[in-house]
Amino acid sequence: MAALVVLLFALAATGGLYAALAPAEKAKADSSSQSLAIEEGKKLYAVGCSSCHGTGGEGSSDGPPLTGVGAAAVDFQVGTGRMPAQQPGAQVPKKKNIYSQAEIDQLAAYISTFGPGPSVPSEKSYDSKGANLANGGELFRTNCAQCHNFNGQGGALTDGKYAPSLEGSSAKHIYEAMLTGPQNMPVFPDTLLPEDDKRDITAFVRNATASDSPNPGGLSLGRLGPVTEGLFGWIFGLGALIALACWIAARNAKARS
């Protein structure tokens, strides 16, 4: 009997001790995983970024300082393959991303330690469910269309710079671009363009540029407007008319006698 009581006590004590200590250990694990991410991120940074942005993110003649750019900027630049840059130039183009999302998160964690900046938006903030497409379209035409074209096809800027096409961009990256203003794009902070508006714009862009989005007229010719349409009309439309005119007036086959 005594042995049983001791056993019960021992069990209760073990359970109680576990209950008391476990959350603390979990919290400890959390903060250590954060510092681990920063450690890992620092290593990745030293290899991939420091040659231009400086060993401490202070910037150099080849790259801007990263103080206060925030995790959202890192997630956008590395996630779309723009950073690390292939070569200096007017504009760093989008290319294949070679980092895993975990590595990007580690980099972002490290770069966030340089100074506070916008963090990566939560999935909820760019979820297209319940977004107002019409409002998004109106805001897009007010704020974005001047550079990115009315259908997000992009366009030219000065000295070799350009606004890229938004086709195939993920909702997260569209949202982050508005939040952080990559390269020469202006920033659209939440104070000037509230979160809901950004979500509407994101949903509109995704809707307008998706490869299966309806295009009632068909044959969009790049959706670039009257230039391509005119070229097509002059070459193929007039070409067909000339060919028909030639057929009508051509000498027809004569019988050989």
Binding site: N143, T158, V187, S213
Partner: protein, 351 residues
Amino acid sequence: MSSDDIKGGNLPDRPTGHSGEVEETGTPSFPDPGLPPHQPRRQDIDEDAAARSERAIAFMFTLSMLATIGFIASFVVIDRTTIVHIWPFGHVNALNFALGLTLGVALFTIGAGAVHWARTLMSGHEIPQERHPIAASPELRQQVLADFAEGAKDSVLGRRKLIRNTMFGALALVPLSGVVLLRDLGPLPEDKLRHTLWGKGKQLINQNTGLPIKPSDVTVGSLVFAVPEGLEEEDHDFLEQIAKAALMIVRLNPDDIKDKRERDWGYEGIVAFSKICTHVGCPISLYESQTHHVLCPCHQSTFDLADGARVIFGPAGHPLPQLRISVNEEGNLQALGDFDEPVGPSFWERG
């Protein structure tokens, strides 16, 4: 034909009359070569070929009938919101596509059938149609002139001077009604081109949110468009007013601003410029946040917003007008007055 023939006497003599006058000659100085000999087509001599042509034409006309029936059927059957994917057109509206295709086929095959009919089965003989002189015969001209003179005499215009004079008066006055309509081109703009809705104490309203803008809202590198307080999109003159009052607001590091007046007219690096290009008035807001350049999409005029919106490229003749701004008691951005020069393109009296 040898080369001698070309050089030889087949060419007419140089005309001796006045230049430009057609020489009247009884006999042409070189023979009319006439039409090439008629060659029969295969359909003219081979009844089987003709029957084949007939069938081909009938086939095209039948296809046209079927296409018309298809057009009506598409209109009745296809839902107007259905989207289908058709290579290479993409995700098109099924009804649009079906109507266009069937109507196109219906019209084209009628035309193609008619052309094929004319080319293969209608008479293939070449038919010359001689030109005739444009002028009427002298007798006819005499007759017309005589008729006119008789009509003038019958109308007694020469004797009844009152009729003649009032008729001339009426004919002279009628065009005035056209002239007076030109009044609708006016009135002259007076000083409308020199003033916008901006004025002292007008708050800058964010076009996205419809709320006043606080300086802390505008971060460095951001871009936002503002309308004057009190102007609503529902207003009947909204477009007329916004065409002049459209404003873009950017924030630069005050140290980056090279132009002293620009720094003074802004608020802690927040500067407000007219959004209307000074070349031909396109809305201009292709803002590059790193270079502080604004590019006009119409003719590539480029303005440096860090240097008083100076024109650094393109056909624009003036810097973008800047609006003087400050902060009111509520902490919102406000205008300190109207633009001090006319916005938009130059005009004759701009000065």
